[in-house]
Symmetry: C2
Subunit: 446 residues, 2 copies
């Protein structure tokens, strides 16, 4: 077990070698330019809590507050000639070095965490706080991280909405061990508060509140969704009831064959409607909120018009982005009721009648109001979507991408998409447990 989650001494040596090399090159460049700059290894690599198989190296380039971050960024560009520039709150450099994914992130060196100029400036404080407390608990952190990975709740990026590495470390510090965290989690309810330094300064309304030891106003678990929090709670309870390696290393789902996809469509007897289009060139933390906003807009469009959505999901495969909807009600009568004003409001009534001179049925009175029955413009969910999608309020990038072109697939038409990642996405959708499902474990809770 430990062998599968703990980096080997060789790996550790290589990581140290590479990070040492990069840091020395950065500092060399800084000295050459007379720039006061401090290069720091941060993140799990710095804390000894990185998982075997993880190859992320975060190196921060700290400058004093009177130095422009651009100066540090230039050095980062030089140090990693083959790189791409990315953008979070500020630009940074990403490069692959000898099999490692290296982020070179300019930041300000501030006196204390209450004087941040940017969110990344906080990271060195986190590293400092963890490094001097986590010694001896590194393996517990690794166990918890791998457990969370296995059940699909690890990662604070918006696509996942799960637990960040720092949050995992704080949980281990709070409860003393992997199993201590699991046992505590079985008693969690929405609003659970963890405040290691007992210095909370602000109320939060997220389901889990872990007060940042280096910033009393910040909730480290702010990005954790209610659902991911309780996926963890359920899995913790299931693991304690019947521990198993499957929690850490679940069998990955298999992509659906044509037959399997068709069988699912048939036994569900629903209408599956997929919208897919060229994924816009933005990072997932920008893309996924827009996908979810579009998902909500489409659902609201349907519900407003009398259709009903059973479930929906968003995702990506190869260079495509997609919105998947499953409808419980996808066809309505052509005739629909339009309810007018109370008939004793003579002027309103006149306007209502003038607006509907040729109804299918009526006008008649129901509960004191005038009612007419009119033909519906769209009696099928896919027709409404096809005609109204581009008029919806969608995120900026999505709006452009969808207007540039999109496809709508209904029911068995989904079989035309043969992409492996899409078929995997569908397999996960039908199991309904996220990318890696924890649902096999629910049975231990019966």
């Amino acid at each position: 077990m430990k062998r599968r989650i703990k980096p080997s001494p060789e790996n550790r040596a290589r990581l140290n070698e590479i990070s040492g090399f990069i840091i020395s090159r950065i500092e060399h460049q800084a000295i050459a330019r007379g720039l006061s700059l401090k290069a720091m290894l941060v993140g799990s690599a710095a804390r000894g809590t990185w998982l075997a198989g993880d190859h992320d190296l975060d190196i921060f380039l700290g400058v004093t507050e009177d130095t422009p971050l651009e100066a540090a960024l230039e050095i980062a560009r030089l140090v990693a000639p083959e790189h791409e520039e990315k953008y979070a709150e500020h630009p940074y450099v990403h490069a692959r070095v000898d099999g490692f994914e290296v982020d070179l992130v300019p930041c300000y060196l501030v006196e204390d965490a209450s004087q941040l100029k940017s969110a990344v400036d906080r990271t060195p404080f986190h590293t400092k706080y963890i490094v001097c407390r986590i010694t001896g608990l590194e393996d517990e952190v690794l166990l918890l991280k791998q457990f969370m990975k296995g059940i699909g709740v690890y990662g604070s990026e918006l696509k996942v909405g799960g637990f960040s590495g720092y949050l995992v470390e704080l949980l281990v510090l709070s409860y003393g061990s992997f199993s201590g965290v699991l046992q505590a989690a079985t008693r969690w309810k929405p609003g659970q508060l963890i405040d290691l330094e007992r210095h909370a300064k602000k109320a939060h309304d997220e389901p889990l509140v872990v007060v940042d030891p280096v910033d009393p106003e910040r909730n480290v678990a702010a990005a954790l969704t209610m659902d991911k929090m309780f996926q963890f709670v359920v899995a913790a309870r299931a693991f304690l009831a019947k521990p198993s390696l499957d929690f850490f290393f679940p069998t990955p789902p298999k992509a659906l064959s044509d037959e399997e996809l068709l069988e699912q469509i048939t036994i569900r007897g629903s209408s599956l409607i997929l919208v897919e289009f060229q994924s816009p060139p933005v990072v997932e933390d920008v893309l996924f909120p827009q996908l979810r906003k579009a998902e909500e807009s489409v659902k609201a469009l349907w519900e407003r018009n009398g259709f009903r959505v059973l479930r929906s999901e968003v995702g990506r495969y190869s260079d495509r982005a997609m919105l998947l909807f499953e409808l419980e009600v996808w066809e309505l009568s052509l005739a629909s009721r339009r309810i007018g004003p109370p008939v004793w409001e003579a002027e309103h009534l006149s306007r209502f009648l003038a607006a509907h001179p040729q109804p299918l049925s009526g006008p008649y009175i129901a509960e004191g109001r005038a009612v007419v029955e009119l033909p519906r413009k769209y009696a099928r969910a896919e027709d409404l979507l096809a005609n109204e999608l581009v008029n919806l309020s969608l995120g900026k990038h999505l709006s452009l991408a969808i207007r540039d072109g999109h496809n709508i697939y209904v029911g068995p038409e989904l079989l035309r998409i043969e992409d492996e990642a899409f078929r995997l996405f569908m397999a996960c959708y039908f199991r309904a447990g996220g990318a890696r499902s924890d649902q096999d474990h629910w049975k231990h809770l019966q």
Copy 2:
């Protein structure tokens, strides 16, 4: 016009002759038995406010309070040898005499209307009240009655829920004329109060409250539904805008041909579902409330299970009773969501999971609750109805009749019913204006 609504002198003479003859036979019989009994012509015939074409004669057999009503009933039976016995609050005799429909109704002669032993005892007081006030206004009453007949709101029986003859007379007394009533009605709102004797003793929550001049606690308009009240209001407004004989004598709707029925089914694009069965042997005032109760039970069954009803209607044709439903949503996905307890309620969660060991999808978490997706038992509205109809709470007589046998027709299967009255019912349903529609008149209100 007046010729069409006012009985001819010959008719009037015949009515007087017949009623005189019956009354004298009744009194003769009473004397022969030494019974103190007073026979009275009541209702519109007694007040000179009966419509041409109407052939209803109401004769009451009043006895003192110490006499059993049975004694009067026996005399009624003798006087009309070919009769049938009917039952309202008490039994009475119905007979056809020389083209007239004669009701012979035993009642008690009480000192004043506050000492009634039964509802029918009030009728002689109504006749007395109207007779000595209506002189000179009879034609106004006839106009209003025929107007209400034409627009389908005349008759206080439960099938109609409209205006009674007595109510029409009181309205004319209140507002002085036919057109006075119409003008007043255009200003009516729910809760309108009319209290001729200014002696109201009780609050009522019906939409129109007309305090009975002979009983300060009674609302004469208690049986009038909100919808019939405002059908009248709308028609009054339309008539005043553009008077026409059509209000009094509308063109009756025509029974639908096969082609017309099929065309309506097609352009409405809905699912029409008819339940029909042998009409139970009860009067319409018993039957219709039970039909409406059954209608509501079926609608509630469907709504509870995710289907949606656009409109519905109840009725009779030949010896059949029927419930007609038009569905806006008649098919659902097989997959359905079952929402369980919040996942932090460990015991509830265990029971929920144990109850659903093999879901189609899930369990998963949504908004903190466990959710599974299960196959629905009935994905089509007609299947749910066919299987659950006999388990619904239906009225006593209806329950028996439906259990004895019923048919369900869906969509084009309705064409198999060739009965003229049924095709007329469907014509009215599609126009959506009741038995005689007032809907042509709405156009004058635009």
